[in-house]
């Protein structure tokens, strides 16, 4: 959760501040409105989750949705999950660096000064690298996935806060190496490979998954900027 806070802070620095009029320019004549630009959120089930074999843990997640001004129904966004938990003494590792780029197509046309809301279709593409270990064995690898899904986004009252939920189905392909702890004087971890070392190829084990690839129940906030009406 601390990482989430850090990211929010970085985001605050990154977002442009109040627009300054050019030196000597006349004052704007038209009134200004606050236009939602970016929605940021975190996936609650990931933030406190249970990983089979590993136990209860947190998968810090962060999602950004950008609302292009000229796109009334389309948005683009990105998700990042990055747990980097390493428990060397108990040989438990949960390291996932996942980046998902996605686009949404809402069914309702939004007004210029409102956030996109309601039911939407979702298209995802993700890349991940991971290192997961428990019971003195584990896997390290990289993978790619693609999926389509359905979601629903709704504001919370009249505030800038919103909740967002959805599910995606698709395929995920990864190449990985299983490994085991050596339990020897070196303390090393070894590839779980017992063939000819000259014929060893890293990432030789393949993982292919078809089914649910993403599920989220997120809570977030819209960041706005002032624009002329």
């Amino acid at each position: 959760m601390l990482k989430n806070v850090l990211i929010l802070a970085l985001l605050a620095f990154a977002l442009p501040g109040k627009a300054q009029p050019a030196y000597g320019a006349p004052a704007p004549a038209a009134p200004e409105i606050r236009v939602p630009v970016v929605g940021i959120s975190t996936n609650i089930p990931y933030d406190l989750t249970w990983v089979p074999g590993y136990g209860v843990t947190s998968v810090p997640s962060f999602s950004v949705e950008y609302f292009p001004a000229r796109w009334e129904r389309w948005t683009v966004g990105a998700d990042v999950e990055w747990p980097m938990w390493k428990h060397w003494k108990t040989h438990r590792f949960l390291q996932i660096n996942n980046l998902t780029l996605w686009t949404r197509r809402y069914f309702h046309t939004r007004a210029r000064d409102s956030r996109p809301e309601g039911l939407y279709l979702l298209g995802n593409a993700n890349a991940v690298r991971y290192g997961i270990g428990y019971d003195k064995k584990g896997w390290e690898g990289e993978g790619l996935g693609a999926s389509v899904g359905l979601g629903y986004k709704r504001g919370i009252g009249d505030s800038r806060w919103f909740w967002d939920a959805g599910i995606a189905l698709g395929a995920f392909f990864a190449r990985q190496d299983p490994y085991v702890w050596g339990n020897d004087a070196s303390g090393w971890y070894y590839y779980d490979y017992y063939g000819d070392p000259d014929e060893f190829k890293a990432r030789n084990q393949r993982l292919f998954w078809v089914g649910p690839t993403r599920i989220y129940v997120s809570v977030g906030i819209d960041l706005q900027r002032k624009k002329k009406h």
């Binding site: 442009p16 962060f62 950008y66 390290e140 339990n183 971890y189 070894y190």
Partner: protein
Amino acid sequence: MHWKSFISVLLPLAILCGCQIDPPLHLRRLAETDVELKMEFDVDMMWQIDWQTEWVFDWDTEILGEVGYSMPEAIRLHTYPLGPDDERRSHQVNNFYGTHGRVHLFAGTHDMLFHNIGSEVNLFRSEDDLADQHAYTRVIASGLQDSHPVETLQQKAAGGSKVDEEEFTESVAFEPDELFSMYDPAYVISDNLDDYEFIDGRYILRIKGELRAATFIYLIQIALKNNYGRVIGCMGGAALTGVAEGVNLMDRVTHTETVSIPFDVFINRESDPDLLGARVLTFGIPGCNPYDEASVAATESAHNLILSITYSTGTYKNIRVDITDKLRELPTGGVITLELDVDDFPPGGDDPPVPEGGGFNAVIGEWAEEVGSTTIVN
């Protein structure tokens, strides 16, 4: 500006994601190992110390072979690299001729099993690739022919035997060949070259071990009292009942399932026409480690010797003798001497004639039909 905002959010995330994935992984070193096995089967220790005095049968070694064990022709090495919780992770098999070989093994901890191969009778199986290896022989018949109980002179003097009047229901299996094995669990193949010998430009690790017998030899001799030429041999064969169907080569515990083992009985009319002699190999007493006295004592078993007695009248009769006590006294093999009074099983008018031609076996019941195929992996 908006795209810059978007990128400025993703950039720190990408930096955060740049952390290293742990733990770093290593490839196990493949060690060249020089395997040197010794044979530990001092029959003076396994059998009776005075077995040579006890064994009086004129055994023709040129025709019948040695009464003791012989050197194995080839050895198979099973290695099971162990995981962090000492669980078997893999299974490798290496074969080499004689008792000396050079094999490549991964550095690390292994369960290692050596046993001899080359026999067409001894078969090996395991429940799965990582499970313990078992040795056994193929079942050839569902049971034995009927037989008449006979007591030895010793039993009669002691007040009778425990001969079971019931028929035997166990299967009949091939007599195993000589089998030796050595199991060394959690053997460490060093990753440190200081533990190796530098020979001909190569680092070689020496592994030494001692093979022990996994099949046990019983030398059986039957002195025929009051024979007067009536019994001329045991042409219809013999069988030993109640012995283990096989053995777990890892822990040396014999199977609880029992079988009867058929074997040949010989007579040397020139040296002693009233003495029958035989050599039979078995996996031993069922359900125990024959090398462990406590393990043997904790089991119960019954053993009968079935003999197809051939008479000078051209007929034969199957008799059975309870040898439970004698066999259990010798869990790793030895000499069993019996004295039978031929007056207890004289030739009778109801005895069937000995079939013409050799190779008949009057002890075994219905021979099992061979179904399917057996693959012998060498």
